[in-house]
Symmetry: C2
């Protein structure tokens, strides 16, 4: 037998059972709290991942007499809701009188599936513990009210801070009617994107590259500027996994000429939107490509954001370059920064990460969350105003 | 009684003594290794700190029959060496046959004090364990050889990696005949020093400011450029403590006009050197100030470095601004970076940390050592070529 961890023998009030071999054992009862059940529901919710697309990630746990009877989650966009996923594993007798722990307020409206609230009430559950109310205007508060009006005890706000990390983009979108906007860049220790203007530089290491692919899959749209298009000629795809709903690809351009013969305008199952300020002869040719769209307007960061919102995209990842980033900073349309910091200095002629129009005032962010990838640091920060 | 940590009862071969109250105890002999004694010597060495000035920090431990008899260190520039500091605590009988653990090779030449090697040999010590050989050309290898030729067993390289952190500047200076050069700056998440060119911006928080004062006291010279002089008008003093040998203050200028009526040219006990490229009418007036020196030459980073070396200053802290930093990067005269990273974005018109002449190639650094100061990060990195 091994004793591991910290054990306070002398102060323990329960008798210690000595065995023949001099070893001893204790029986310690485990009592789970509401927050423990909600933690299980949060872990379940995360299994949905990017597959839930514009739906939130939701997890549910059904408990009766201190026993977890079923765990469910929202598997994919259009699939069963988490509550139903859990409930359909149980018999009517098991459900009657049980408690449901669910990370998000159960829906009360007919969407792709019938409202969960009705099924919960009909099944005779006794109590529903909710992580957070749904910010979706069709649901918020209505689910809770429906349950209460049907005699079900409802608690809200359980493990709220943890639950809030599940659907940051979804929550933001419905609270602010615009996408959550993240700026992502790799920079050197002297704050440079490239060693020289007009040139591509490899900055971050392989582990950071892999991570940046993981980051992409959580966004519904990715935006780059004209310089990044012509210098990097990127694909902006998620190459590690197959996504049912990969992020759409947006490019902000003066006109579409620069997009001719780029990877982004080749035939693809992922749409590309060329956001051009002016019409050009190449518009017709490019628009004829499957999934390539030329959209002409006097684009600004605010207009891009509003247009994403109209398309229902809840999150926008801005991947440079320097001038596009300055535009979004100046427009104060930055909710998050993801920075890969490489242990290199490019020196006096390198291209700064953010160059161009001035910001009216500095943007301030939370304490950075640091992840180490070999000799690279990943810094994640949310805008203070966005908290 | 408490049991803490991991204890493997069943696999332990020594009998476990059970007491009346059901508790048990084990007697575990403690055996110290050479590296343990050297660790004590390293800890002692650090007590010297900046007071040792251009002398190295050195610690010594004298051991006999497994017992530590005395611990010593080099207290201050001109004071007793660590070995002597320890030996003078003991009687002749105690010293005879003892082992000395010392972080740096004992000296063999007459400097401010008579050579330690002679005293060690005369006292009849049996063995000397050395952390590292002294890179000082007057000592290196000679101390070891003297001891061996007097019948003393000598071991070198004990805990070498740890010992090497004690006197990075001193070691570098004697190995490379130039000062260790550290660039230090506070920057935003978009790599900016100030929100606008020609303007001063407060970037780092109070904890970072306090730390930057601690950093200064370990350097023998601090250098700034003309823009930093005129915009910030700094004092470049160590304001937290009284130092016997504060760092001298250097300013790189076109001519001395900009230094008139600045804090750096006020009467002070700390010398200021105005490194000017051209003579000016203000030279005479400034040179008349006590401790202010005007030095006219075609200054480059390499010339500043060589001039520091001639003055015996083993370490140079470059504190900006942007152009001066670019000059040192381009000259590849950067051995270390200390960066305070603040959770702010200044945007498209901020002044980049390093602007000016191009570097021929990027400088690469080690994995950053990260310290958290509230919402600021301090990053310390050594140049890879400097390892």
């Amino acid at each position: 037998m091994y004793l591991t961890g910290e054990i306070y023998l002398a102060t323990h009030q329960t008798p210690v059972n000595l065995q023949d071999d001099g070893c001893f054992f204790m029986e310690v009862p485990i009592i789970l709290l509401a927050s423990d059940y909600m933690s299980l529901a949060v872990a379940a919710a995360k299994r949905g991942g990017p597959a839930t697309y514009t739906n939130p990630q939701v997890g549910a746990v059904i408990v009766k007499d201190g026993q977890v009877l079923a765990t469910g989650y929202h598997h994919y966009f259009g699939g069963a809701h988490a509550e139903v996923d859990a409930m359909q594993q149980l018999t009517a007798a098991q459900l009657r009188g049980a408690t449901l722990y669910v990370t998000l307020e159960p829906c009360s409206h007919f969407g792709k599936t019938p409202p969960c609230c009705r099924r919960i009430a009909a099944a005779g559950l006794q109590k529903v513990v909710i992580g957070q109310l749904d910010p979706h205007p069709l649901v918020t508060g209505h689910g809770r009210d429906y349950l209460q009006s049907h005699g079900i005890t409802v608690e809200t706000g359980c493990l709220a801070a943890t639950v809030a990390t599940l659907n940051r983009h979804y929550d933001w979108f419905y609270l602010h009617q615009r996408p959550w906007i993240t700026l992502k860049y790799a920079m050197t220790l002297d704050g440079k994107l490239t060693a020289q203007r007009g040139q591509r530089s490899l900055i971050s290491n392989h582990a950071s590259y892999i991570d940046s692919q993981h980051v992409r899959q959580h966004f519904q749209a990715i935006l780059i500027g004209e310089q990044t298009l012509t210098i990097d000629d990127p694909q902006l795809t998620v190459r590690l996994t197959t996504l049912a709903h990969p992020p759409v690809r947006l490019v902000l351009l003066n006109n579409s000429t620069a997009a001719v013969n780029t990877k982004l305008t080749q035939p693809s199952t992922v749409p590309t939107y060329l956001l051009c300020r002016q019409a050009a002869a190449s518009d017709a040719q490019l628009s004829a490509q499957p999934n390539v769209h030329v959209c002409i307007a006097d684009w600004t960061p605010a207009k891009v954001s509003a247009w994403c919102a109209r398309n229902g995209w809840q999150s926008l990842l801005v991947e440079g370059g320097s001038h596009l980033q300055a535009d979004f900073v100046a427009a104060e349309l930055v909710d998050e920064l993801i920075i890969y910091l490489a242990p290199t200095v490019f020196g006096g002629q390198g291209l700064p990460t953010v160059t161009g129009v001035a910001a009216a005032s500095p943007l301030t962010f939370t304490t950075p969350q640091v992840t180490v990838f070999g000799d690279n640091l990943k810094l994640c920060l949310q805008r203070k105003e966005a908290q």
